[in-house]
């Protein structure tokens, strides 16, 4: 029986030690260190580029290079990520050559009519195996409103001002959802001013269903674990604002009253 007692003692000690470790520590003040380890960004013409490598290796074809910036000049996010059902994670979509040729995914536009088609001559235009290769024509962006990070372009301003006119839908007669509602999100840390979220800025690109209810719950103040740490792990705002939409380095675009950044 003594040994049983010992076993339970050990268990309690282990649980106690874990509970101690699980309590969230306040971030230590380290002036020489950045507060968050932001991901490193590639050059402006490569920002938002992906190397899609789902079945290409087995099919003995080079991975596909996809550039967000060249596509967003023509289409808003919702066209591909809602209507065409592209996942938000690289290689997360069941794209196949067959599906493309049948008019799904890339093939919805790359059909030889709207955009170049799936012909032998065009294989190497996407299947390059090289993430930098989609930088061609990046010079076209030179006149657009500038931004400090990402592609060096303030896409939101470019769209709002009509400098770019991407299509909203592939379905004729479909109207985009609008909602003009700005939300102030209190930061967890004292001294950090609230993040200001504009639905109107987002609905120019996105549909309600891109974010709700999977990425963000719709009930006020019930989205759990919504912290900068989770965002840096690619959740919530980080689903887009890490690698595609303007990156987190641009603190003041969300926390407008933040000083010194």
């Amino acid at each position: 029986m003594k040994r049983v007692g010992l076993a339970f003692g050990l268990l309690l000690a282990a649980a106690g030690a874990f509970a101690g470790a699980a309590a969230p520590d306040p971030p230590p003040y380290q002036p020489a260190q950045p507060w968050f380890k932001l991901p490193e960004h590639p050059p402006a013409e490569v920002f938002g580029n992906l190397l899609i490598n789902r079945s290409a290796p087995s099919a003995r074809v080079k991975p596909v290079v996809f550039s967000h910036w060249s596509h967003r000049l023509r289409y808003t996010c919702r066209v591909c990520h809602l209507e065409l059902d592209f996942a938000l994670k690289r290689n997360g979509t069941g794209i196949t050559e067959e599906a493309n040729r049948g008019g799904a995914y890339c093939g919805a536009c790359h059909d030889g009519k709207t955009a170049f088609g799936h012909t032998e001559a065009n294989c190497a235009r996407c299947h390059t195996g090289e993430i930098r290769s989609a930088g061609e024509g990046f010079g076209r962006l030179a006149g657009l409103p500038p931004a400090k990070f990402g592609n060096g372009v303030d896409w939101s301003a470019a769209l709002a001002s009509g400098r770019i006119t991407p299509a909203d839908t592939l379905s004729p007669g479909q109207k985009r959802m609008t909602i003009d509602r700005t939300v102030s999100l209190d930061a967890e840390w004292a001294m950090v001013p609230p993040a200001v979220f504009s639905h109107a800025d987002h609905t120019r690109w996105l549909d309600c269903a891109n974010c709700h209810p999977a990425v963000f719950n719709i009930k006020k103040k019930t989205t759990q674990h919504f912290s900068m740490k989770a965002i840096l792990a690619g959740e919530f705002c980080g689903a887009c604002h890490l690698n595609v939409a303007f990156p987190l380095d641009d603190c003041r675009r969300c926390h407008p009253k933040m000083k010194g950044f």
Binding site: R3, A14, K175, T178, R181, P213, V215, K219, T223, E235
Partner: protein, 266 residues
């Protein structure tokens, strides 16, 4: 001996304790995989199959809605709206209830032998989970149908209007033929969030498939304005979400309901 057993299991117990305080798995913050067009509306029924060493039944709504309206099965035949809630049994089917109302070898294929009889290839046409592709190819059978953005990739409402499909609204021997009731007019439902387009609800469009009884009075009471519901509840499968989210066009298609632009004040 018992203490030795506890000690032997100690690592496992510690592991359990380490996992439990981490709380339930997160279900938000990232986008989920949407079902493929042929999978949308698929229900796996395993009321008694696994228990009886038979593969569970794979039911596709789209193959059935091409031939019958929703209310034939969900009202006249009496299928519940939740998978496995109906407690369908082989015996009931063979007596002409539930699936057996049609799958009797006359209206649709049925079992070829009695329940004790040898190999019956027709069993596997429904008891098909993991055995064969669950349904005939969607693309082939819906060729030329009006396209929809989500769900099965088919606009079923338009398909019915264009007579690409002619779903029957009754089943001989099961349904009772009555004169159709007068259908109330379309009306607006105000969105709770300011500036969000209002909802136009059409009784006409719904009555084609559901009649009155599919929604009233269980899902929606009949007193105007008395059923208070929110989008959160719809996302959870209540109210409109009883159908729109898993079978009828999904809630990703916001504009199909939130369709009336808000007129700016002033």
């Amino acid at each position: 001996m018992r203490s030795a057993l506890v000690l032997r299991r100690l690592p496992a117990l510690v592991l359990v304790l380490l996992i439990v305080p981490a709380g339930p798995a997160r279900s938000q913050g990232v986008r989920k995989r949407r079902p493929l067009p042929a999978e949308y509306g698929r229900v796996v029924m395993d009321n008694a199959s696994t228990r009886n060493n038979v593969a569970p039944v794979v039911f596709d709504h789209w193959t059935h809605r091409m031939k019958y309206t929703c209310r034939v099965c969900h009202v006249d035949v009496g299928f519940a709206m939740q998978a496995n809630e109906t407690r369908v049994h082989e015996e009931d089917n063979r007596k002409g209830f539930f699936c057996g109302a049609c799958h009797n070898g006359k209206i649709a294929f049925g079992p070829r032998h009695d329940a004790t009889g040898g190999d019956d290839p027709s069993c596997e046409r429904c008891h098909s989970l993991g055995k064969r592709p669950a349904a005939p190819e969607l693309a082939r059978l819906t060729e030329g149908f009006p396209r929809g953005r989500f769900g099965n990739g088919i606009d079923w409402e338009a398909a019915e209007l264009q007579k690409k499909i002619r779903p029957a609204n009754s089943l001989p021997g099961v349904s009772i033929q009555r004169k159709p009731l007068e259908i109330p007019k379309d009306y607006d439902i105000e969105a709770k969030v300011a500036t969000l387009p209002e909802i136009i609800f059409s009784h006409q469009k719904h009555a084609v498939w559901g009649g009155c009884e599919l929604c009233h009075p269980d899902i929606f009471t009949v007193k105007r304005g008395a059923t208070k519901f929110t989008m959160e509840e719809i996302f959870k499968g209540r109210y409109c979400g009883a159908c729109h989210g898993t079978v009828a066009f999904p809630t990703t298609d916001c504009q199909r309901c939130h369709t009336k632009p808000v007129v700016a004040a002033g």
